[in-house]
């Protein structure tokens, strides 16, 4: 199949966006299927990528399959645009896909993320690509893949409820703080990747398309725009998100997810926004 892309301006040693066209077609087919069945894990032939498993090989393959020259890419790691992983992945695509990059959530058309959903609400037309380490939400309850597939097929999700019961019995509340299980579109149990449960409500009825890529386990799943995503809970122990008594030390936000930082040897600490772009926008807006 002829390569339709003009490779003159990017590094011509590689095909456009690193992966060969057949691989991208295969991944796009998996993505289409994933979008058609929200929350269902679609297997795909994961390729070796020039970074180690666990660093975002799944996310990077999904991004490579959907990115085009007109796109603007933002990459975040733990909410920050300036961490090693985010910087390298952003540079990688700037080089092999010849795309514009940004740190501003509003300007991005494709956002690849690890561990956070941006604080700034996403719009229609934006795509959020998650890097997923363990795509199977039932894995810790049931080690056999054949059995977890059966459980998904038959919608037998009682085991997950048992793990929440156990958490309340032991700690007095649902102690799971990240990778909090969700039910997508009232059908499939899904692992939202290790985002804090603070971000779970943002998945629900989001205007953007959410794509999840797991490189080691070779699975892709998706939540289409405006799809209901419900976090599991009990009637008498409803789902709750984290709260902080402090506000962000830099921008004063009381609504965003805060990281606790230790700033000196005496144990002095302060809280700052984990989403660096959101924090900077707020700081600039405050300036006269």
């Amino acid at each position: 199949m002829p390569d339709t892309h003009d490779t003159s301006s990017s590094d011509s040693a590689y095909n456009y966006a690193y992966l060969d066209e057949q691989t991208k077609r295969m991944i796009r087919r998996a993505i289409l299927k994933a979008v058609a069945v929200p929350g269902y894990q679609v297997p795909f032939g994961g390729r070796e990528m020039p970074l180690p498993y666990g660093w975002g090989t799944g996310g990077i393959q999904v991004t490579a399959a959907i990115i085009g020259r007109d796109d603007t890419l933002k990459v975040i790691d733990q909410g920050a645009d300036d961490t090693t992983n985010a910087v390298s992945i952003r540079r990688f695509f700037a080089k092999v896909a010849d795309v514009a990059t940004t740190t501003r959530t509003e300007e991005a058309t494709v956002i690849q993320t690890r561990h956070r959903v941006p604080e700034t609400p996403l719009k229609e037309g934006q795509i959020l690509v998650f890097q997923v380490p363990i795509p199977e939400p039932l894995r810790m309850l049931e080690p056999r893949e054949t059995e977890t597939r059966t459980l998904h097929a038959l919608t037998e999700y009682g085991g997950m409820q048992v793990s929440l019961y156990e958490s309340i019995a032991r700690h007095g509340r649902i102690s799971k703080a990240y990778n909090y299980p969700v039910l997508v579109n009232g059908r499939y149990m899904m692992s939202p990747s290790p985002i804090p449960k603070f971000d779970n409500p943002k998945l629900d009825n989001n205007a953007a398309l959410q794509l999840y890529g797991a490189g080691r386990e070779k699975r892709i799943y998706a939540v289409p725009p405006y799809t209901p995503v419900k976090s599991l809970d009990f009637d008498d122990h409803p789902f709750e998100i984290e709260t902080w008594s402090e506000c962000c030390a830099l921008c004063g936000s009381k609504e965003s997810f805060l990281d606790e930082m230790i700033v000196d040897d005496d144990g002095k600490r302060l809280f700052v926004c984990s989403d660096t772009d959101y924090c900077q926008e707020r700081q600039q807006a405050d300036k006269p």
Partner: protein, 259 residues
């Protein structure tokens, strides 16, 4: 004892492993409220038969039909897997010989009992916990152990927990595979006592596999004696044990150790 149709009914049940038949041409009816015992030596096909009845193994020939509470009579092996699994966790119970096979060892006793409730849609923590506590009491487990894991329980306690976990959904039919095997005699006696009380109180029907004729005598109304995969004798428990007809049964009864 009968009121209309049998609860569980099997005709010509045969299961082969390779060329060897583990059970051959077994037919019987189980009536509501009845406890049927299956005895025989090790390797006589008791457990294979039980697994076929409970839908855990696909038989090579024959049929198993079950009279459900709501859906009428169903062919157990003709049901879709989803329906069969639903049946297995609502109207049926299965008590394993080794409690570890029937319990979730990684979660607390309360979670073990509550699992079926949550599997059929229970979403109120307080109610699930209350039901779990009720059942802890019914099987004579200390309520203070509700949040302890079964790994910290003794063999007898695990077996009680397994019974509670199965009965919490008010099943009509319970399959038991050597429920008192591997327990010491005093614990055995108390578990048997408990089982007898529960069967009585909740009007349970049960199929009980055992190699222990004493257990069979205590718990079952009717007895099937198996040898080499076939049923060699079948009748009321007291009749079979007091006046065994088949040579094998006579040998079995004669092998009971006098105390």
């Amino acid at each position: 004892m009968s009121d209309g149709a049998p609860l569980l009914s099997t005709r010509g049940l045969t299961k082969r492993f390779g060329g060897r038949a583990a059970c051959r041409d077994v037919s019987f009816d189980l009536w509501p409220g009845e406890v049927l015992g299956i005895v025989g030596e090790s390797g006589s096909g008791k457990t294979t038969l039980l697994n076929c009845l409970a839908g855990r193994l696909e038989p090579d020939e024959g049929s198993v039909t079950y009279e459900t509470a709501s859906m009428g009579t169903v062919d157990v092996h003709g049901l879709s897997e989803a329906r069969r699994r639903l049946l297995a966790r609502t109207e049926w119970g299965f008590v394993n010989q080794d409690a570890r096979d029937g319990l979730r060892m990684g979660v607390s006793a309360g979670a073990n009992i509550g699992e079926r409730l949550m599997a059929i849609g229970g979403r109120h923590y307080g109610n699930i916990r209350r039901d779990a506590s009720d059942w802890m009491t019914r099987v004579e487990l200390d309520l203070g152990r509700l949040d302890d894991r079964p790994t910290t329980f003794s063999g007898g306690m695990r077996q009680r927990l397994q019974i509670a976990r199965n009965l919490v959904s008010n099943p009509r039919l319970v399959f038991m595979d050597e429920p008192t095997g591997g327990l010491d005699v005093s614990v055995q006696a108390r578990i048997l006592d408990l089982l007898r009380g529960l069967v009585d109180r909740f009007h349970l029907s049960a199929v009980l596999v055992t190699h222990d004729l004493g257990v069979a005598r205590l718990l079952t109304h009717r007895l099937m004696v198996m040898q080499g995969g076939t049923v060699v004798e079948h009748g009321l428990t007291d009749q079979v044990l007091d006046d065994p007809q088949h040579a094998y049964t006579q040998m079995l009864v004669a092998s009971i150790l006098p105390v």
